[in-house]
Amino acid sequence: MTPVLASVLAQAIPLGAGALILLALRRHPASAAMLAIVAVAVSCGLTLFLVSAASAPGTAIVAQRPWLPLEAGPGLIFGVLIDPLSSIMSLVVTSVTLLVMIYSLGYMAGDKGYARYFGLLSLFAAAMLGLVLASNLLQLLVFWELVGLASFLLIGFWFERPGPAAAARKAFIMTRVGDVGFLLGVLLLIRALGNVSILDLVSQAGWHGSLSPRFLTMVSALLLMGAAGKSAQGPLFTWLPDAMEGPTPVSALLHSATMVAAGVYLVARLHGFFAAAPSVMHFLLWMSLITAVAAATMAMVAEDIKRVLAYSSISQLAYMFMALAAGSVGAGFFHLITHAGFKALLFLAAGIFIHHAHSNSMREIARHGRPRGRAASFGLIAGAAALAGVIPFSGYFSKEAVLASLGPAAGSAALILAYGGAFLTAYYAARMVFLTLTHRPIASPSHGPTNETTLAEKAARTMMAIPVLLLGALTLVLGWLGASLALRFSPGVAVRGALELGAGPLLALGLAAAGILLAWLEYGRAGAARVGFVERVPALRDFFANNWYLDRLYAATFVRAAQALSRLARWNDQRVLDGAGDTVAAGTVRGGRTLSRIQNGQVQMYLAIIVTVLVAFAFWLTRAELLL
């Protein structure tokens, strides 16, 4: 089997499975789930093959065919691009998808939309693979939108509830804002280059020097808009916390591990191109620094465990961008991989709690006590440790790589923000663990750990536990792969070894420890007030808890402006334009009525008119020569 065929099959099989499920298997949930899992498993195997096929640094297997004729040149040529970056990313996608699907067997059991769920997940996997393996920027954009669509449908999976429906809408529209920039950027590139082959863009082949810096800056900025929208960065982040209305496994897969990382992937993918626009990269650096800290502040006060995780996703994605902006693809992508692992882990573990407590609130979960089995707790702790950057969990290594990539060149302010963010991360991660796991039973024990254990429930629990344990194990493993991973896609760039401790790592570790300690003091220790230092300042707490009031700002400005414009346009349409048409029509009828008064029944007036017209005719004939 050739890698190309494998890559095509890897996309096609989940696509086919998804389509089949949605079209034919909607009433057969069990077979739907099996089909989906088998399809993704096969796809996963194929991507593993791809990883091995493209193991050597600098490999780039490309197979393309013309897809869209354009005015000049051969038109847009679509195909697959298999290189270390895409193959590893696709492996991440398929493996996390596979795990999430297995987990969902338990988590979603009994849901009305069970089959639809698996169908949509399969489609998502296919689309995400398409995005990852695309050889053309426009092709990437196509799948980019499709994962957005999948995200919309999955956030709104429980569409009857108002929350998910609204969240899905918000997510779709907000990411569209970024996508519009992306599209414009791509179109500008097509206009300039005729085609937007990713390899050509990265290698600067064919355009080096021919494009003005101003143009490059503009295009890069536009592309970055897309990345920011998809990855919930900068001003476009507010959809992601709301997206947590979707099923938890979906949050794990789409809204932390894979889809939201697409923005990072895009920048990593086109790093060679972005490098040509240093000012944009500089902007990105600062945007990600601010996002990282801002999202961390929000996570500090969130009560909903999934929202905490969502904010942490935003924050961690910002770290990845930070590395990319600083020039290190390796570090950024490394953090992407580890983050995919531990964040999926965190969500899945949290999902078990949520499933158990039927609530997202951390305090509520705590009141319900632990679910059966230790997997959830272990998973949560391991994931949180990785998030906080505790050695030897994977997060430590990757975050360390990110912080290191910043280097002294970034300036002290940047470094303070980056490290401060790390401290906050550790704080809120620990806060989450303490809040969730410190059991505070509620007064009435009716909701306590229950005894009923049907076979199905047991099976479900097992299905949910397996991925958690696997991912937990991964958090311990992934960190060590960093160096080799990084080597694959940025050959020649020296990557520091995992355990090369220096001032930076020590500082990071110290900050992490401080954060955890602070969290323990406030939440963990026996008799703690379980009120954080931020929460003691209501204004600040509200500020953080409300996404820095960005939602309100948007509602008050953009949304209101759009609505006002819409109403204005509607009014104009009904009153002015349509009204004008009606007025002309009514005027015509009125004109008819007026003219009909000439026919007043007085025959002598008719005669008078006739004679007058004839007199006028006579005058016209004698005077016509003068006038003509």
């Binding site: 004729p69 196509v142 939108e145």
Partner: protein, 490 residues
């Protein structure tokens, strides 16, 4: 000469004759006759597609003969890669339209008679290469609309029907003098499109006449500010008529601009292109904004059509390969998409007797499949890739970007609004809790069929646009090459 085009034209015409001959009480036979003529049209279209050579130059399947030589009117038909997709579109919408109206009980005979008449006109426009017949069929397609809407329509049907008819005929009132003026200007006097194009026109004539054609045909294409008939008409029209109207008829306007305005008056088109593009851009943005605050599903679709037809017009205004490719493809995909839209809404309306977004809600639970059709159409409208419109819009935007970057940026920015209204409708009408007592069954298999056909076309083209673009592209290039030829007889 194989007379395939004539045969195609005769399919609905023969259907009309057949329907007229069957006494009105044999409802089933009338339906069958209509379906038969639609199937025949599809089959003949299939033959035409099969016999069409995308890479051959010039007109294909040309049929010509003498008709009215004193007046320069000749029997001249032929197609190129631009008209072919529209023929396919018409056939599909015709067939699905007949199927969608299968359950019709009221005055069945007259309905299908008018419908086949309308389709005859549409086919005629797309195959005519003589301006007289072009306009002849054009009006044949427009007039049955009045009765189709006024008799079988719903909300404010008489008003909507009258408004639609008068707007469209007012457009024709601009077109007729323009065409006659061209006829008397060209030597030798002829209505033959091909000969007229060959002879060419004086640039000053072109500049004067082009706006008449653009505005006149533009009315039917939903050109701002003459678009208001369209939402009102769509809301009033019965399902199949909305399908045919938004799906096919509005394309006649754009096709007229392309085939008559641009082909005959390249200089005029070039001179007015910025103004046309500006109007088209207003269409896009304005239509989207108005759609954003509509509460009737059909009004949303109506204004989305205004917006989408703006994309077609914008593509045409670019006078570039990409723009026109995109415009023609958008004509096709928008045709299929609105047909699907109206088919989906039609089903919902038949069951719930309301189209008010506020009173619907949670439909996806009650009738997932029927809802899915609407959602697919809405997503197509929102320009989601994987559905046909994406490619078309992409090409138009690209074509625009090459010439008017700022305008393109504005129009692309409006995609946000497009997305917003599409998603708003989906979320309000199909998501959320069911507001009303929803116990109607989901769509059964037979009514599903036409809608599924439409959805499938959208998906297939969305996946592989070259299926259609490979046909359009050579024709567009030839078209533009002919346009670029300077006026020889100066």
């Amino acid at each position: 000469m194989s007379h395939r085009l004539l045969t195609l034209l005769l399919c609905p015409a023969a259907g009309l004759a057949l329907i007229l001959l069957i006494p009105g009480r044999f409802v089933r036979a009338i339906r069958m006759a209509a379906a038969l003529s639609a199937l025949a049209a599809c089959a003949v279209t299939g033959l035409i597609v099969k016999g069409f050579d995308a890479h051959a130059a010039g007109w294909q399947m040309v049929e010509r003969g003498s008709w009215f030589p004193e007046m320069g009117i000749s029997y001249h038909m032929g197609i190129d890669g631009i008209s072919l997709p529209l023929l396919v579109l018409t056939s599909i919408v015709f067939l699905t339209g007949v199927l969608v109206m299968w359950e019709l009980q009221l005055r069945v005979k007259e309905f299908f008679a008018f419908m086949t008449l309308l389709v005859t006109g549409v086919f005629g426009v797309f195959v005519s290469l003589d301006l007289f017949f072009f306009l002849f069929y054009y009006e044949v397609a427009v007039l049955p609309m009045y009765l189709l809407i006024a008799i079988w329509g719903s909300t404010r049907k008489e008003y909507g029907a009258m408004k639609l008819t008068l707007y469209l005929l007012a457009g024709t009132a601009l077109v007729v003098p323009a065409i006659l003026a061209l006829y008397v200007t060209v030597t030798p006097h002829s209505f033959d499109l091909v000969e007229m194009a060959r002879a060419g026109f004086n640039p000053s004539v072109q500049r004067i006449v082009f706006p008449f054609l653009f505005l006149g045909f533009g009315v039917l294409a939903g050109l701002w500010p003459f678009h208001t008939w369209s939402p009102v008409g769509h809301v009033a029209a019965p399902t199949a008529v909305s399908m045919l109207h938004a799906g096919v008829l509005m394309k006649l306007g754009a096709y007229g601009i392309l085939r008559v305005g641009m082909m005959l008056l390249p200089e005029g088109a070039a001179f007015w292109a910025p103004a046309c593009a500006a109007l088209a851009a207003i269409n896009i943005v304005y239509g989207a904004f108005v759609a954003l605050s509509q509460t009737d599903l059909k009004f949303v679709i109506g204004y989305s059509s205004v917006s989408h037809m703006g994309i077609v017009l914008l593509g045409l205004a670019t006078l570039s390969v990409d723009g026109i490719n995109g415009a023609v493809m958008q004509m096709f995909s928008h045709g299929i998409m609105t047909a699907l839209f109206f088919a989906a809404v039609g089903y919902i309306y038949d069951r719930y007797h309301t189209r008010d977004i506020g009173r619907l809600g949670g439909l996806s639970r009650a009738m997932p499949v029927a809802s899915a059709f609407f959602i697919i159409a809405a997503l197509t409208g929102a320009g989601i890739p994987g559905l046909a419109s994406f490619w078309a819009e992409l090409l138009v935007f690209l074509g625009t970007l090459r010439i008017w970057p700022i305008l393109a940026a504005v129009v692309i920015g409006a995609l946000i609004i497009t997305m917003a209204y599409s998603i708003r409708v989906i979320v309000l009408a199909f998501f959320g809790e069911a507001h009303e007592h929803h116990d109607a069954p989901d769509i059964p298999l037979f009514p599903m069929l036409p809608r599924a056909i439409l959805a499938a076309v959208l998906l297939i083209l969305g996946f592989y646009p070259r299926l259609i673009l490979d046909v359009i592209d050579p024709a567009t290039r030839a078209f533009l090459a002919a346009m670029a030829r300077p006026f020889a007889s100066l």
